[in-house]
Amino acid sequence: MRKLLLLALALAPVLAFSQGFQVNLEGQKQIGMGHTGTGILQDGASVFFNPGAVAMLPQNYVQGGISPLFFKSDFNPSGTSIQDRTANKIATPFSFYAAWGPKASFWKLGLAVYTPFGGLTDWGNTWQGKYVLESLDLKAIYFQPTISIKLADFISVGGGFVYNRGSVDLTQAIPLANSSGQPGQAELKGSGKGYGWNAGVYIKTEAGITIGITHRSQVTTTIPNGNAIFTVPGSLQSSFPQPNQFSSTIPLPATNSIGFGFYPCSKWILALDVNVINWDVYKTLSFDYTKNTPALQDTHSARNYTDAVSLRGGAQYKAKDNLALRFGGGYASTAVMDGYVTPEAPDANRVYGTLGLGYTMAKHLDLDISFEYEHLMQRTQTNNESQLSGTFKTNVYIPGISLAYHW
């Protein structure tokens, strides 16, 4: 008669593609200049930054780069002197571009493969928030074929189609102890796809200023058949049926950008970008399990993101014909309102600074290196849903290197 009801256990996986997951690392030349590139023309990375500008590229490009990302987050639970830190794991955002067209033609074709969203966060299985999240490995790889057309000497347009291949691997502890007192484990692992597009226009004004305007569409990514793996004490396994699948849909938001390029003298380029990211599409995160039990219900967690803005600026100084020095920085507002901050990417307003060096190794070959430091403002939060309460502080260090061949 002592009826046991385990349904109090609401297992709510957290998964928020927040600003923290927007990986602004799409080209070493551009990173060096504060990740500007909408309103200026540097290399094949324009396929990402402004498909409208590609037709204006004086040469054809094949290039690739990688930006190992060190994400270092610290959590101080409220009322304690504990410092919980993420493990040293290195995410590897990369980019690959090709832009080609006949010499002196009015059109160019482009192809881009890049990682605009992703995250690798590992808090371990002993920290305060282990029942919220232990680790998350999230990747989104965009494939983008593009065409760009020069309408006149001063204006070109372009657009591309985006196919996204996304994957997620999330682990969290389940607060059900086995006979030796160890908690259970949940792992949600799967991959899915989404589609989108982007377009841009690039203008050279008579005043010598260049202007770019782009729109990158929302890419709604669905994971239809992820594996939901639950390790719980044997007597409760029937409440967490195995094997089990989950499905989930996440809208990767649209981004609107305007960028400007200024050329005060032949050695200098100054660039300015403004982005508005439409995070407000992200209202709810739902996980739908194929097999439900009273203990394992579908979850619907409020996210209620707001639109975010980022401001970026940068400069390039051509010290020699074969050597360019770059620097830049920016500010990005957070999309995550108070009460919704979660540990997989503890988001906050952020500032960042960048440095870059470009070296032309041979007539057709550029070597570019970049370094970015991001600082997320310290943020003290109590999450509405998990009541996890404490202060997050995050720094990100991103070195990067790329090679570009052009002809």
Partner: protein, 439 residues
């Protein structure tokens, strides 16, 4: 060679990146106006770390005073020694373990009877048999004694009647005559926690109002005053806990009248009600139909319902007629609940007013556990409530707490201490502590 050197620099640079750690600056832990050099805890089973219907090593190691003491280390707290059972007798008094579930989802609990610390049985004339446990010799900071009431603290023969107390005393039952109050105050201390008083109401309630009596309100108040005067005689500071509403524990809320009646009606739809022997007033009891306001205890053997009972009116089913009501010991009926609540409320007034007069911190366990019963509690992503087993806070006996429950209570005590004395004892990490163990 040159490129090799460059690589070295790059690798060294990357390693340096790996070394820079963000750090949230926290205020240095501070003891405030309290002195935690020698902290002692007094109280009953909850203080001793009793869980799953027994006192055993794992429960002792997760007692709330031991958790508080661990957190006090950073603000000048000294060593905290508990009267632990030895590793070879780790199961102490024995306890219940969850060994599975019946097909209907009800849990199966099995007593653990190996590696006990039982030393013998001492018959006490006029009282009964007292189970004696292996003696503990050594320092004691945690004076929690399962079963003790505030009523017993100045009762000299108590060291012969309670095996858990006898175990801490140098002498053997039945020759002891040290009162609990003298025992705990024999050595100097600088800070104390006191959570005595639960059993003065709970003893009556868990026996369905049949096997024990409520400590009279004026006696409670007199003894509590005496206790606190003695504990603060040398200006010691401390924290006290109020007494939880007995109806906030799963012991009284798991086997409900509705659930039992529903099960009976499934087998026999003509049954209209369960009958209990209920308190009318004073010491007068009369049978009546049970309502949802009558609380059946967790350990009621539901199989008794409907069993034939021979009466002067013929053979009648147990619990289903006014002639064969459920025994009083299994039910805390509505009037008994009200009576208990009025005593608990009076006890708590006493506790709060004496604590206020002496400038002590108060953990209001009554309000805290009632809030959990009404609204649940979410801690670090874990949903908790007052439910039996699934709730995560209460252990298998339905009254005492799991390690997770004790950690939550320890944090509430710490918050009360910090608020009163301006200290900053860091809170414990509740996520490190488990709920009920499942097979």
């Amino acid at each position: 060679m040159k490129t090799f050197k460059q690589h070295i620099y790059i690798i060294a640079g990357l390693l340096l990146l790996g070394a820079c750690k963000p750090e949230v600056n926290t205020p240095k832990p501070y003891h405030g106006s309290a002195d935690f050099t020698r902290y002692i805890s007094i109280g009953n089973s909850l203080t001793a770390g009793y869980a799953d219907g027994g006192l055993y090593l794992d429960g002792q190691l997760n007692s709330y005073p031991s958790i508080i003491a661990k957190q006090m280390q950073s603000v000048g707290g000294g060593a905290f020694t508990q009267p632990l059972f030895g590793a070879d007798q780790a199961n102490g008094s024995g306890y219940l373990s969850l060994t599975g579930f019946n097909p209907d989802g009800t849990p199966i609990t099995t007593p653990v009877t190996t590696n006990l610390a039982v030393r013998g049985i001492q018959p006490i004339p006029g009282f009964g048999n007292v189970v004696l446990y292996t003696k503990y010799t050594g320092n004691i900071n945690n004076y929690g004694v399962p079963g003790i009431k505030l009523l017993h603290i100045v009762y000299a023969p108590y060291g012969n009647l309670n095996g858990y107390y006898e175990r801490l005393l140098p002498g053997n039952s039945p020759a002891n005559s040290t009162t609990y109050l003298d025992f705990v105050t024999a050595k100097p201390f600088t800070f104390f926690s006191n959570w005595l008083g639960n059993n003065d109401a709970l003893g009556y309630a868990t026996s369905g109002g049949a096997g024990d009596v409520l400590t009279p309100k004026d006696q409670f108040s007199q003894l509590y005053g005496l206790l606190i005067s003695k504990m603060t005689a040398n200006g010691q500071k401390g924290v006290v806990g109020t007494i939880p509403d007995v109806t906030s524990v799963p012991y009284f809320n798991t086997v409900t009248v509705g659930a039992v009646l529903g099960a009976v009606q499934k087998a026999n739809p003509t049954v209209k009600a369960l009958y209990i022997n209920a308190l009318v007033s004073g010491a007068t009891y009369a049978p009546r139909a049970a309502t949802a306001k009558d609380l059946i205890i967790l350990t009621f053997p539901t199989g008794k319902i409907g069993q034939p009972v021979v009466t002067p009116y013929g053979t009648l089913p147990y619990g289903l007629t006014p002639v064969t009501p459920i025994d009083n010991q299994y039910v805390l009926d509505e009037n008994e609940v009200a009576l208990t609540e009025s005593y608990v409320s009076s006890y708590n007034e006493t506790i709060k007013s004496i604590a206020a007069a002496k400038g002590l911190a108060v953990f209001d366990a009554f309000t805290f556990l009632n809030n959990i019963k009404l609204h649940g509690l979410v801690v670090n992503g874990v949903s908790l409530n007052s439910g039996y087993i699934s709730g995560g806070i209460f252990s298998l006996d339905g009254v005492h707490l799991t390690p997770r429950g004790y950690a939550i209570v320890a944090n509430e005590f710490i918050k009360a201490i910090n608020a009163k004395y301006g200290s900053s004892i860091p809170l414990a990490n509740v996520s490190d502590y488990r709920g009920v163990k499942f097979p």
